[in-house]
């Protein structure tokens, strides 16, 4: 029996009975037991895990572990042992917060650099990277997003969109939703997608303060 690991949580009660709790150090990992030969790329399994994730977030904030990590309890425990201290610090620091994200489609796609223009691989990779970071949107919109959601980070995921991620207090989610509706009114021609709450994802890689 292997378990598909979902997240790292402070308390066993944050997990049970929604999912199975595996103790690692003084933290607990949430898991969904599946058959050993269950392929992870199974659509139904993905949907199940997405549902469990949402139910777990209802109980408490947790550190999201990227989908695809599965194993027996001892395997899981040994691979996560090194992260436990850092995770605990993050979980305690952000206990009452959740992540919110806002994706926005950039008005112009950055053209993809042509590899035939480059002799150096490093220059090509840097140019590819520059094309993603060159993506930008209306500064008024940017400012409005930060006002609506709070302090956060702008991420460059690809050449056609930009994303904003922020931690907000759990009880501020409704306020953010309302602010999102106002953004829609104020910027009717900017295609954006505000979603949440999410567990610690973007901020899960941080060193705790």
């Amino acid at each position: 029996m292997k378990s598909v690991i979902i997240g790292a949580h402070l308390q066993r009660d944050d997990i049970e009975p929604v999912a199975e709790a595996l103790a690692v150090g003084d933290l607990f990992l949430s898991g969904l037991p599946v058959a050993d030969d269950q392929p992870l790329g199974d659509r139904d399994l993905l949907l199940r895990v997405a549902k469990v994730r949402a139910a777990l977030l209802d109980r408490a904030t947790f550190i999201a572990i990227r989908y695809g990590f599965a194993g027996s309890p001892p395997e899981v425990a040994s691979k996560c042992a090194a992260h436990v201290e850092r995770w605990r610090a993050l979980l305690e620091q952000h206990r009452d917060e959740v992540e919110m994200t806002l994706k926005v489609v950039a008005p112009e796609q950055q053209p993809r650099p042509d590899r035939r223009d480059f002799t150096s691989g490093g220059d090509y990779l840097k140019a590819l990277h520059a094309a993603t970071t060159a993506v930008d949107v209306d500064p008024d919109f940017r400012a409005a997003v930060e006002n609506a959601i709070g302090k956060g980070r702008w991420l460059h995921r690809d050449q056609a969109s930009l994303e904003f991620a922020a931690l907000v207090a759990r009880d501020a989610v409704e306020r953010v939703r309302v602010a999102g509706e106002e953004l829609k009114q104020r910027f009717p021609r900017v295609p954006f997608l505000l979603s949440g709450p999410w567990p610690l994802e973007v901020f899960a890689d941080d060193r705790g303060e």
């Binding site: 590819l128 460059h156 056609a160």
Partner: protein, 108 residues
């Protein structure tokens, strides 16, 4: 919770199709019917895109040495070149290889 402005554009432009969401393969027999070359190249292309995406993430994180950037960049260039050669050899276009997400009805 979701607030969306201009759903149609979002659906088209946001990079969901570049993600790793698996297809309901049995509902898309076209991929199987059109031969092994297309199948194999589709998968290699998917891996190539994933590799490129990950390389860009590492660039974002800023934790690559100049040497590593050079090696990664060169490998990605070569992979791209190889893919183009293979596509030409088998007469396949980018559209032929596109592992598309498919309409939402496939999810049920």
């Amino acid at each position: 919770m979701i607030v969306a402005n201009d759903e149609a554009t979002l659906r088209q432009q946001l990079a969901f199709t570049d993600s790793m969401i698996p297809e309901r393969i049995s509902a898309d027999p076209e991929i199987v019917e059109n031969g092994l070359a297309k199948l194999v190249l589709s998968i290699i292309e998917l891996i190539r895109r994933l590799l490129e995406k990950q390389a860009l993430r590492r660039m974002d994180a800023g934790n690559l040495s100049d040497d590593e950037i050079e090696k990664l960049g060169t490998a990605l260039m070569k992979l791209e070149e190889k893919m183009n050669e293979l596509k030409r050899t088998f007469g396949l276009s980018d559209d032929d290889l596109n592992l598309k997400l498919g309409p939402v009805k496939m999810w049920e």
